[in-house]
Symmetry: C2
Subunit: 334 residues, 2 copies
């Protein structure tokens, strides 16, 4: 309900921004958002759950009421545009072929178009803020630009880790990477909502910390679902990350466990053949404690997120929207 | 002299922005700017001629004097960051192996790093403007973001044209592409300088038109130098564009000439073998009138640029800096 409401407030801004793109690039963007098929036929579905814009709006409402929420629609759209720009680029680099149950943009339009349309979404995000007369917009733009640097650093660390042997990656490194890649933008979404409500520096910092912790919980659960979840719900083939030997959080935790199952896992990961091992890997990660660790960590992060939320928004009633969204992301992902 | 002065004013802002990047991405950026070798040893040379930031500063000075010029240093650095972000991405897509006499970033660090560091330079550009207290900074940021969309559309058209047979591309199409890919940012640089001088909408529009015409002249001359120039000066292998069957402006003009040399060129371009034809192609493009057409067009564009400059800055003495830069770019390129 919270998400549908946010989508209804943000979609018109998003569609107007994307509608301003030159023809061929607009088509790529509409396809990426699930609003158009590759052949130009209009479609409806699968532009993601809009968690980040919902957090911008909920944070603005929590500290500034309905008026602040209404004023933050452009900022919420800007955050969603940044999220989608990074998805387009990450899919080229990783290279991932499926997202939100559809083929990724680069598989349909080629690498160059996916890179260019990512660049234009990035520009549209910052244009929305530059043209927003709200007094918070320059601070929001600076924060969002900083966040892009952190997102890129996270993606850089992720691709660098893919080249390492599993034993060379520590749990701290992979947690830092996840914080940069996922926590940073969720934190920024909350912080930007606070800025649009005229929040104090302390409140904005607490909102950022709330989002980062909730984002890390989100990533931990997303990794668990990626290995043990239902592919019909995730929109990605089951075990795709395992097949690509991805160093997801549960896998690195399993490697670091020092259990006999960890040694077994290392042996299996070292093999080059892929498909036939898939069914074997998940139970070993589980036996090595990777699944339990991830779920405990997620619960721990959520507890910390709640502490930060109480600092930022002491009134439990006002904090309700943010709380509901944070709990939503630990139950669903993507 | 004008360029050295601009570099001295802008480099500290650029270096501070790049210095704020996380370690591994900073190294890629420093290499791209020619400030560090791939092994981390500091280097000095070849970060380009800084024509775009020089135009920002000269336009600000032309309409607002030394004070406006001094206030526009961040905006000038932002324009140079956007230029370099697009170079990093274009080099991945094209794919070009040499720029400014050095190997391109993707050849040294890989595609993913070149894409990510391009993204961070884009973010740094818009962060500089978001954090700039100057009253013109929001309008400059919106204009720069619009320009990124146009740059991407130009690059999109360029890569799409590479897939066409030469006879399928019209001179108008390739001129539009060149205006988007080169004219737009040079026009924006001049317009942003005007904004920082508090110029009127008419003056800003004339400055933009001045820059676009001068930029197109620049591109025409750059294409001529790319085919007939000295590789020691251009920093690119002679005839690289011809070898890749690039549809540069002189080549498309030659194809469209209807001369016997045009038919000869079509026959030669259709062949798949590359190296041995290089020495043959340039004289045919010349006989088909491609070189003369490009030089006439460049002169024509420069005349139009001068008209726009007179509209924007009627005082010839105040216009001197912009005039000198525009003439500089038609004699030198890159």
């Amino acid at each position: 309900m919270l998400l549908e409401r946010a989508r209804a407030e943000v979609d018109p801004v998003l569609r107007a921004a994307i509608g301003s793109l030159p023809g061929p690039m607009r088509g790529v963007a509409l396809h990426h958002f699930g609003w158009e098929q590759a052949d130009g036929i209009s479609a409806d579905g699968g532009s993601g759950k809009a968690i980040r814009p919902a957090l911008v709006l909920a944070a603005a409402a929590a500290l500034g009421g309905p008026e602040a929420r209404a004023g933050a629609a452009r900022a919420a759209a800007a955050v969603e545009l940044v999220h989608n720009f990074t998805l387009l680029h990450d899919d080229v680099m990783d290279p991932d072929t499926t997202r939100r149950h559809r083929p990724t943009a680069w598989t349909v339009f080629g690498d160059a178009d996916a890179i260019l349309v990512g660049d234009t979404l990035h520009a549209l995000a910052l244009r929305l803020l530059a043209q927003d007369p709200h007094p918070a917009s320059p601070a929001a733009a600076a924060r969002l630009a900083d966040c892009v640097v952190e997102l890129c650093a996270g993606q850089h660390a992720d691709t660098a880790m893919e080249r390492c042997a599993p034993g060379e990656v520590t749990l701290d490194e992979v947690l830092s990477m996840a914080e940069a890649k996922t926590g940073a933008l969720i934190g920024s979404a909350c912080a930007i909502g606070g800025l649009y409500a005229g929040a104090s520096d302390e409140e904005v910092a607490a909102l950022d910390a709330f989002g980062r912790e909730a984002g890390l919980a989100f990533q931990l659960i997303d990794d668990v679902i990626g290995i043990w979840g239902d592919p019909c719900r995730t929109g990605k083939p089951a075990g795709a990350g395992l097949a690509a030997r991805k160093k997801s959080l549960p896998v690195v935790a399993a490697f670091a466990s020092g259990t006999p199952a960890a040694a077994e896992l290392a042996e299996l990961y070292a093999r080059t053949s892929e498909k036939e091992d898939l069914d074997d890997i998940a139970p070993i990660v589980e036996r090595a404690g990777g699944r339990d660790w991830a779920q405990d960590q997620a619960a721990d992060r959520m507890a910390r997120a709640m502490q930060q939320l109480a600092r930022a928004v002491p009134d439990p009633e006002a904090a309700g929207g943010l709380l509901a969204l944070a709990e939503f992301v630990t139950r669903h992902s993507n």
